[in-house]
């Protein structure tokens, strides 16, 4: 759902750009306090995986394709602030080098897929762990639901931006975007679960290290 230039008006692009810039600045501050040296390669691998997996568009209903977003995977493994940094790296590189997502729309794309995607998935994941703390597969269940919610909310935010910009009326663009991404979200959830499952089977400790949590405190 990378927004190209031309879809958004200047006000919407500027507002989302300011929020994203503020989010990135705070992400740098928070992760600087909490990120451990041994987590540095995890940041690199997650960005590499998200970039590669985003290239693999999969067909969904009606001549439409979808691709992995990855915000949930990053936020679940390293917390939402580090997740936002990873998504920002990917989105900035895609915009500047691969001409995927507009320059003016970069702030909106980081807001939708980084800020909304990471925080929505992280809190849904935490909520699932709170509801079923003892179930052995609670992380996978939380990962699936968190991924689905992240995609649907990110596409909803995108729809609101398009409507505010006058590209399409909200009553038209909102159900269309949320509807198609509700399907894409299922695949997103399956990929997240597959990766979390693979990590759990091989290096379960990577899912346990102190997370970059929202309170700015190492737990």
């Amino acid at each position: 759902m990378h927004i190209p230039d031309g879809f958004l008006n200047v006000g919407t692009a500027a507002a989302t750009g300011v929020i994203s810039a503020g989010g990135i600045a705070n992400a740098v501050r928070v992760t600087g306090k909490q990120l451990k040296e041994k987590q540095v390669p995890i940041m690199g691998v997650l960005a590499a995986f998200i970039f590669a997996a985003q290239m693999l568009n999969f067909p969904i209903a009606g001549g439409t394709s979808g691709h992995f977003m990855g915000a949930a995977l990053a936020a679940i493994i390293l917390g939402p602030w580090a997740g936002l940094l990873i998504m920002s790296c990917v989105l900035i590189a895609q915009c500047l080098i691969f001409q995927d997502g507009g320059l003016v729309a970069l702030g909106a794309n980081i807001f939708n897929m980084g800020v909304v995607g990471c925080f929505a998935s992280y809190y849904v994941y935490k909520l699932v762990l709170t509801i079923i703390p003892k179930a052995s597969n609670n992380k996978l269940v939380g990962g699936f639901i968190g991924s689905w919610v992240a995609i649907v909310l990110a596409s909803s935010a995108c729809a609101v931006e398009l409507a505010v910009s006058g590209a399409s009326p909200i009553g038209v663009v909102f159900p269309a975007m949320a509807g198609v991404h509700a399907l894409i979200g299922i695949v997103e959830g399956l990929i997240t679960v597959a990766v979390l499952g693979a990590i759990k089977a091989t290096r379960a400790d990577l899912l346990e290290p102190a997370k970059i949590n929202t309170e700015g405190v190492v737990k």
Binding site: M1, H2, P4, D5, G6, F7, V28, T31, G32, K33, L35, K36, E37, Q39, V40, P41, I42, M43, G44, V45, L46, A47, A48, F49, I50, F51, A52, M55, L56, N57, P59, G62, G63, T64, S65, G66, H67, A82, L85, C89, V90, A93, L96, I97, F98, Q99, D100, G102, L103, S155, C158, L162, A167, S168, V172, V173, A176, M177, V180, R203
Partner: protein
């Protein structure tokens, strides 16, 4: 072995990139909505192109051009995020640990 787990993980990422030519060429969710709801023509072109649309310029075979773009991007993103994280960790340590800040 234990310290180099990320080399294996990066290998898996590169393998995913190698399969990128198999990706569906259908428009993605947003593009399809824009097409159906009649606002796709608003989209403008980028003022510059480097590896536009994940096709490495100058390679005739499109599958190969996509594969090369995917591999370059995957390695690049690993380097960028690793570098950013390393800089952030190093800067964060300097602030909190005065004994390190003296070592330049």
């Amino acid at each position: 072995m234990k310290s180099k787990w990320w080399l294996v993980a990066l290998g898996v990422c590169l393998l995913v990139a190698v399969f990128s030519p198999l990706a569906s060429s259908s428009p993605d969710g947003l593009e399809k909505v824009a097409e159906n709801k009649g606002f796709l023509e608003l989209a403008g072109n980028s003022p510059f192109q480097i590896i536009a649309d994940y096709v490495f310029p100058g390679i005739q075979n499109e599958a190969l051009a996509t594969m090369v773009a995917g591999i370059i991007g995957t390695l690049l993103l690993f380097g960028i995020a690793y570098g950013v994280a390393w800089l952030i960790v190093t800067a964060g340590k300097k602030k909190t640990n005065p004994s390190i800040s003296r070592v330049e």
